[in-house]
Symmetry: C2
Subunit: 279 residues, 2 copies
């Protein structure tokens, strides 16, 4: 397993670094970014927050726009930001921004032409943490968070792997993808017409049936253009209520779907995860 360093920037006393590696889950070369806080330079094994980005994003959006390094440096948490889909010229794609490259939806595709590369669920759950933990001075304490499509990914992955993550959070997640246009389009393409196969990738369905429970925090802006048609946090909240899931959903007047919203509240998310990672 070779890994190539592409860039390094000192930030808040730690380091932001981009790497490329050949992914065996995705059958292509992938790029990811890691923020290593100052504590990691002094030999300490730090816990890791995985951040899953939304539609059209790469590893760069969160690192550049969220303002998270300051708090991660204070708390001694590494942050890993993977890409949002397999990449490369031979990777299947679609004209829409909401399917194909930049829109992997964190599922293992079962349908042609997607299934050869689009195995983002396996990549995030297994391959990437194994690579991170064998390469960097990090512990095996993990938390997970994300935005929009990545909020969906973070919730689904923590709900299905509660033993692997101490805590989960999301900004503006696609809460019930089986039941919204973005989710229906992606799941039909990647998983096929039979919506029974979609249930394993739907946070509102999984949370309703959850037994082993990882504490959760969700922030949602009330001026988000996608709130009513695509995101539907009220369905996730209802699912949490039904299974007595420890989920806090916070609604914020005036905030939209942008990184300005994420930046405004990322500090709360990092402190929430730090509380659980450091137990």
């Amino acid at each position: 397993m070779t890994i190539e360093n592409l860039s390094s920037n000192k930030t808040f006393g730690g380091w932001h670094k981009q790497y490329s590696h050949v992914s065996s889950s995705l059958n292509c070369t992938m790029r990811f970014a890691i923020y290593l806080p100052p504590q990691a330079s002094s030999g300490e094994k730090v816990p890791v927050l995985y951040w899953l980005s939304g539609l059209t994003c790469t590893d760069e959006n969160f690192m550049q726009k969220a303002g998270a390094h300051r708090i991660a440096a204070e708390l001694g948490i590494a942050i890993v930001a993977p890409d949002t889909s397999p990449r490369g010229e031979d990777v299947a794609d679609d004209e829409g921004y909401d399917l194909g490259k930049g829109a992997g939806f964190y599922v293992n595709a079962t349908e042609a032409p997607w299934r050869h590369h689009y195995q983002m669920y396996d990549y995030i759950v297994n391959e990437l943490p194994a690579l991170i933990e064998s390469t960097f001075p990090v512990s095996n304490k993990r938390a997970i968070s994300g935005h929009s499509m990545g909020g969906h990914g973070a919730l689904v992955i923590s709900l299905r792997n509660p033993e692997r993550f101490t805590s989960v959070s999301a900004f503006s997640p696609i809460s019930n993808p089986s039941n919204c246009p973005w989710g229906k389009k992606a799941f039909t393409a990647y998983l096929g017409e039979d919506s029974k196969t979609w249930r394993n990738y739907d946070a509102s369905i999984l949370m309703r049936e959850a037994t082993q429970k990882v504490p959760g925090l969700v922030d949602q802006g009330l001026a988000d253009d996608f709130l009513t048609e695509q995101l539907k946090p009220e369905l996730l909240e209802a699912a949490a209520k039904a299974s007595d899931y420890p989920l806090e959903v916070r609604l914020h007047e005036g905030y939209d779907h942008s990184y300005y919203f994420i930046a405004s509240f990322i500090e709360d998310h990092l402190r929430f995860h730090a509380d659980h990672l450091q137990r």
Copy 2:
């Protein structure tokens, strides 16, 4: 004078907004961004920090990447980020990233084909503040800062207009443009071959001769690829020493020319300006 609102995002309890307007100095339509802290929504007239960006940037880079809104919200300071050159199809341009669009260098061009539009000095010193102060709930207390080419702009503009700004700061400024490749290329094009006309746009020359003095803060990364050939902070420091100018120059091991560096230290700059703006 009409002004059109292009976007609005709530951030840290305040608002990031983009506007377009027809500039009489620049003879074209310009875009700028403003961050209005929460205090501005409750009728308070807040002071303004003008941020001048570097080569290739627009109004967006600082607003998205610097992580400044959090501190501006706490301190009750508005931030205005203009574009870095005139814009539009009929505006003269060059193939290089360091001349023409995105590279106005905050000068009033005297040479063809630039002089019709490239009057960025007048735009930043007079037209834009007049527009801001007649449109938004801001006071006439102003500070100025910038990065690289914008650090040069901030220093020059405050040195020539000490009565208009309470304080100046810069990240990685082009400290002595008469004496580096970026500056020589731009000044030759915009101002002509006679380097005597360049002196009014050279911070190290102006600072050496300064009488009315505005407090200054400069941060420079020591891993900045442009440090030795283009930036030369030691010449600015020498000029400050010669005129007993109240300038602090801080050198930072390991930091580069990117916004990760700016984000790491922008809090210090905002607190520095707040101390002077609120006197």
